[in-house]
Amino acid sequence: MSANTAVAEKYRNNFLKEIEEQVEMGDWVKMCMQCGVCSGSCPTNFQSAWEHPPQELFMMIRAGKREEVLTSSSMWNCTSCYNCIVRCPRKLPITHIMHGIAEYAHRLGMAPKMQPTRFFSGLFWKNCTHTGRVNELKLSMGLYFKDGFVQGIKNGMAMQSVALGLVKAKRLNVMELFGGHKCKDQKGVHAMLKKAYEIERGRKTAKIAG
C-alpha cells in the first residue's frame, strides 16, 4: 500500500482530521472564520496567481476537497512575507499552515511536479543541507536547468546581465561551482538531519497507525 492510500484509508471522509494530524500547524485550520483578511493581504493574490487564496483553501479542507487542495499550486505562491499572520484576527499562523500543506502535498507526491517554486524550494533545501551552507551559484544554475539543457542555456542568457553585475560587484563568485563555502562538520549535519527525519516520520506514521 502506498503512503497515499494508507493515509486515504485512515482518514476516509475526514480530510480536516488528516490535515490536523499530518500538517505542521494543521490543527489551526478549524479556527478560520472566513473573513478573508489573509487573501486581501497576500501580495501574490493580486496577480491572478492563486487558484485558491488561504481562506478558501481552509474552507475546502473542511469540505473534504482532498484532491483539489493537495494538487493545487496555490500554497506554492507564498512569498513568506508573513502579512497574513500578523493581520489574522484569529491569530492563525497562516504562513506556516500554507508551508505545511505544501510540504504535505510534496511528501505525498501530489504537488504539481513542475511548479517552479515547489522545484526551487526542494532545490534550496538540498543545496543548503548538502554542505551546511548555501551555494548561491549552484542554486541559481540548478533552477535555470530545471527544464533541460537548452532551456537552461536560454535562462542563463536571459539572466546574464544580472549575473555579470553581481560578479563585477564581487557578490557572485564563479569559483563556487568547484566547492565553495561549507561547514567543517558536514558529517555531523547530515547525521543530525537523518535522525530528525527519522523521528518526524515516526511520529507522523504513529498517528496513521493509531
Binding site: 513568506s80 517552479p116 526551487f120 533552477l143 544580472v162 557578490r171 555531523g188 543530525m192 530528525a196
Partner: protein
Amino acid sequence: MAKHEYAFYPGCSSQKGASASNYLTSVESMCKTLDVKLTEIPDWNCCGASIGYAEAGELPRHVMNARNFALSEKNLPGQEIVATCAACWLGARETRERLTHSDTLMADTREALKEAGLTINEMPGIRHMVEVLIEDLGFEEMAKHVVRPLEGVKIAGYVGCQTNRPFGVAGESFENPVYLDKMVEMVGAESIPEYEQKVTCCGGALAFSEPEKAQAQIKDIVESAYDHGAEMIVTPCPLCQANVEIYQGQINKRYGTKFDIPVMYYSQLMVVAYGGSAKDAALNGQVIKARRLEEIAAKPVKR
C-alpha cells in the same frame, strides 16, 4: 573589552563572494566605530530559510537552527546571538519560540543534536543587528559618532517583510514601522515617512522561481521611491537589498521604466556618516553605484 559583545551569526549570503558580502563589510566597519564586538559562531550552518519548506519539514528545520544555538552555547557561553540577515534572524527566533513552547519538540531536537555531538541547555537570546543598535545602544549613542552627516540626501526607508513580520522590532507597528526613517535622520539624511511601500514584499524567493510575480512587486517599491523624490533606498534585509537592486534592468525591459536607483544597507549609510571610506562602507559592492554616497565618502571629515 568592547562595550557590547555578541555571538555572531553572519548567514550564508554574508560570506565572501556571496550576494550580501558588502553588508558584512559595512557592518564590521560600523561595529568598530560603535565598539561592538561580534564573534562568529564557529562552524555555523544555514538557517534553512523560509523557502526550504517543501523538504525541510518541522523538526529538521528547527534542528538546523538548534545546531547553531548549541555551537554558540558551547563556544560563546552566555552571549546573545546576533544576526544581520532578516531570514536568519526570523528562522532562529521561530525555532527558539517553538522549542520553548513544546517539550516534545525540544526532546526530539536534543536527540537529533546528539548525532552531531552537541546539546542545548539554555535557549539563547536571538537579536537582529538593528535591535542591538536601537535597544542596546540607542539613537543618541549612534548619533554621537556622526562626523560627516549625509546632508540633503533623500532616502526611502524600505523595511520589507521579515525584519518586520511576524516578530518585528519591539514597539514598532507592522503596518508603519518608523525606526528606519529615524536611522536615516540620525545619519543626517532626509527620510520619507510617507513612503507607502516600506513594508511591501519584494517577492522573496519568488524572484528566482517566478520572476514575473516578484518583479511586479519590486516595480511598485522602486516606483514609489522615485515618486517621493528619493535618491536612494535603504533596507535592513539582504534579500530585499538584492531583489530591489539587481532586477531593475529586467524591470526596465519588462515595463519600459528607467529605474536606476541605488539600494543601500543602513550600515553603509552609517559607515559613511561615521567618517569611513567608500571601501569601509563597501560601496564597491553596489550593482547600481551610489555616486552621491561615494562623493560624500571622499569629503573630509568634520571633527
